[in-house]
């Protein structure tokens, strides 16, 4: 018996030695993430995990860089009115805007019937991984697929905005847009797909989302034109990327990048410590509290970089609730919170307190707005003024004796939010507001309760926006989800402010950066005064990198660090 056991152990050891083998030379980077992309098609489904991979394999025409400036990646020069590559033009006769579209009241009404012609030139050496040049054929094919209602593209807003595209030559085209707006030259989401490979799959548009080679043959080199191409995929587990020999830009130093998905964050940490992965991506890795705990234990072994991002964590009050519809009550609720202490205690001060929905990293941000530092006395005074008097039971009541009580909801099981929720509950309790926590799983909360406005009190969640993002869908009074509009729009609070509506309409069409900046400051001032939402903080992401990895520059917005992966370096 003992001999048999010994034999088994020796055999096992031999297998281990033969299978683990010698340590690999450092020419590859293994990145750990917590989510695997459902598809790698650039325009079907939108997922952070997918954008992260596509940053290595594709390049959008334009994007925001690490300094939050719009730059060209696939195009040669950013078209502007100043360089003559963008022009205001008349819209085709008979052109009709969507019903319900509003227009800036103080602007020249003639602008409402204008559009823009914007000319882009594709990088001359841009080539698909199979050697086929990237041309305007791909542009026209992408446009054809994107505007087809059956193709399954999740975001057709961009394609609806395009009136037509004129091809000037194999590398140059003019995009005619149906409106004048400051973001006229940003076509970040216009992601090319290869006409020479994908046309066959598009023969039946309704079946395209199933037949696309991005799903059926994702290792086909002709699908990719970034610094890396996909060499192999183990669905749900890992994606192996090798250098793309046809990449036209700076040659990347790292030969191979492997993206491993490990959903359990403790297992992700253990994998990092074991050397099974080298780097935990901030975009899709540990939560901030997990990263801070990790840093306390293993700070010496890794470079840990925290970057505030455009995830705006806030509480959305339902303005249909008579108490929450009163601005004084919302202001009192915010004065009652010690958000600085909350950020310090829970997140080591890594997540900056928000004064409005505009990130301090955005050039349009202003500090010149009403601030709500922790002031329970001010909160009490505001509630008194609003008719909510403190009773002998420690709670506030109105003249009819009804208590000031709300439900507060968030995503069940999300530890950080549940912790924050408890802090909010106790701080509101201190000023006599009774808050009952009622959490739901994410798919119920987001799929039903929030987007169909079935919450009666407040919900705690986050918005992901982009640099200089006009909060039209979240604050405009035409964007309140209703059964009639198919629950589209994201003004879940049912916030209605005609002044802010018009200001947003005017910002959208203002091309002068200086004038726009003033308008943005006004918008933030209104927001901070009116409090459509109760701003909490901007989330931060933690990038846990090995000390030998250099050149990773987190962006802080949704266009991810992998878009500059060719600049990543291994320095022992």
């Amino acid at each position: 018996m003992t001999r048999t056991l010994l034999r088994v152990l020796i055999g096992l050891a031999a297998i281990l030695i033969s299978a683990t083998g010698p340590a690999a030379a450092r020419d590859q980077l293994i990145i750990g993430t917590t989510q695997f992309p459902s598809t790698l098609h650039p325009s079907i489904d939108s997922m952070l995990a997918k954008s992260y991979v596509l940053g290595l394999t594709q390049r959008p025409f334009t994007t925001y860089d690490q300094n939050w400036e719009l730059v060209c990646l696939l195009c040669t020069e950013l078209p502007t009115i100043e360089n003559g590559k963008a022009k205001i033009e008349d819209l085709p006769p008979g052109f009709k805007r969507d019903a319900g579209t509003t227009f800036c009241k103080s602007a020249d009404p003639a602008l409402a019937s204008k559009g823009m012609a914007v000319t882009y030139t594709i990088q001359p050496n841009a080539t698909w991984g199979d050697g086929t040049p990237v041309t305007t054929d791909d542009v026209m094919f992408t446009y054809e697929v994107g505007k087809d209602e059956k193709s399954g593209f999740s975001n057709s807003e961009l394609y609806r905005r395009i009136v037509k595209i004129d091809v000037l030559d194999k590398k140059t085209f003019t995009m005619h847009e149906d409106r004048v707006e400051f973001g006229y030259n940003g076509i970040n989401d216009f992601q090319l797909i290869p006409a020479h490979l994908e046309r066959a799959a598009f023969a039946d548009p309704a079946e395209y989302h199933n037949r696309t080679l991005y799903n059926t043959d994702p290792t086909n080199p002709g699908l990719w034109f970034g610094p890396y191409r996909i060499a192999s995929i183990e669905p749900g587990t890992q994606i192996v990327l090798e250098q793309n020999p046809t990449w036209w830009g700076e040659k990347p130093q790292i030969k191979r990048i492997i993206i491993k998905t490990i959903e359990n964050s403790s297992a992700l940490e253990a994998n990092l410590l074991s050397g099974a992965i080298d780097y935990i991506a901030g975009e899709n890795g540990l939560s901030i509290d997990e990263a801070i705990a990790f840093e306390q234990r293993h700070n010496d072994a890794y470079d840990i970089l925290y970057k505030p991002v455009l995830f705006f964590e806030h509480v959305t009050p339902n303005h249909d609730n008579p108490a929450l519809g009163d601005k004084r009550v919302r202001q009192a609720l915010l004065y009652a919170l010690d958000r600085e202490a909350l950020s310090q205690q829970l997140f080591g001060g890594r997540q900056p307190v928000a004064d409005s929905d505009v990130s301090p990293l955005d050039w349009i941000h202003t500090d010149d707005v009403r601030k709500y530092r922790h002031d329970p006395a001010q909160a009490a005074a505001l509630l008194d003024a609003a008719g909510w008097k403190l009773g002998s039971d420690g709670l506030r009541h109105d003249a009819a004796g009804a208590p000031l009580a709300f439900e507060l909801m968030t995503t069940a099981g999300e530890r950080t939010r549940e912790l924050v929720e408890q802090v909010l509950q106790s701080q509101w309790k201190a000023i006599g507001v009774d808050v009952r926590i009622k959490n739901e799983p994410a798919r119920v909360l987001f799929g039903e309760t929030i987007n169909k406005r079935r919450f009666t009190g407040m919900t705690l969640f986050a918005w992901l926006s982009s640099p200089e993002n006009v909060p039209h869908t979240t604050l405009h009074s035409t964007m309140v989800p209703t059964e009639a509009n198919g629950w589209a729009g994201q003004n879940y609070a049912d916030y209605r402010n005609p002044e802010l509506d018009d200001l947003m309409d005017c910002i959208e069409i203002e091309l002068d950066r200086g004038k726009r900046e003033q308008m943005w400051h006004k918008l933030q001032a209104i927001y901070a005064e009116d409090l459509p939402d109760l701003p909490l903080y901007f989330r931060a992401q933690a990038f846990i990198m090995p000390k030998w990895l250099k050149g990773v520059r987190p962006t802080g917005h949704q266009y991810q660090s992998t878009l500059w992966a060719e600049q990543w370096r291994i320095e022992e």
Binding site: I15, L16, S18, A19, T20, S38, T39, S46, D98, E149, K150, G152, S154, N155, S156, E157, L158, A206, H209, N210, T212, N215, T216, E234, P235, G236, T237, Q238, V240, K260, T261, I262, E263, S266, A267, A270, N271, L273, S274, G275, A276, R443, V444, F446, G447, E448, T449, I450, N451, K452, W463, L464, T473, T474, N485, G486, W487, A488, G489, Q490
Partner: protein, 317 residues
Amino acid sequence: MTRFILQRLAETLIVLLVMSFVIYGLIGLMPGDPIDLMLTADPKLTAADVARLKALQGLDQPLIHRYLLWLSAALQGDFGYSRLQSLPVWQVLTPRLWNTILLMGISQLIALAIAIPAGVRAAARPGSLADNMINLTAFAGMSVPLFWLGILLIMLFSVYLRILPASGTATVGVHSLADRAVYLIMPVLSLTLVTVGSQLRYVRSAMTEVLRQDFIRTAAAKGVSRRRLLYGHALRNAMIPFVTILALDFGTLFSGALIVEQIFAYLGMGKTIFDAIMGNDFNLAMVGLLLSTAVVLLSNLAADLAYAWLDPRITYR
């Protein structure tokens, strides 16, 4: 016997048909469809987009209509595409089913190889040091949370000893059986450790009961050797309740496999079904759940057949 098997197989098909309706209905009644979730994530989606995408995925149709469409396609062998994986359902499930069979099969075999002799030994000498040690080990195995055990094993074998890979199913670019085996060690070990405890307790309890029977005393009086008495006479009788429990436990083994799959990033059926349900992936969830239902039903059928083999007094007509 053949008639019995055919009858049970027909019953299995009926149960699967009923289950397909129940599962489809339950998933369909869960709040929030994929487009509702997409709406929250993508601020630029308009009412027209919502209507277009719902129509494209058939979500604008009544649930019963969608079920009948699914059923008629399924009866023709077309189980559709996975919404989450963007691949035909079978293409997603086949490798994962194989992975799960491998994981659960090896764990189950090792667990039985430990549980049966240890359980017999514990029951043969109740109250002895060996019995106490075996019981202690069994309770420890049953009490250890699987997710914690998994992390502990990773910390020990991957972080400190660095002799086993922390997660995954194979090394990139390596296609050998030895490589697959190395990646299986920790998942199998975790699943075995948490299942062996309860199995050991079942064997011990069944054996204790059988060893009190008259026929055992008679056999012992007739001079049957201790080994033959335990393994030839007692164990065979003790296996009847044990096989029942094993068959019933097959479903719960799936949930254990789910945790193991998550911790070790091991692609199997448990995690696939879980993700499919949470992600509203009708086709994938349906086929995955039906497969696991079929596995449970067939394992119960196997248990019924095993009764006849274990006890010749049992016959099926």
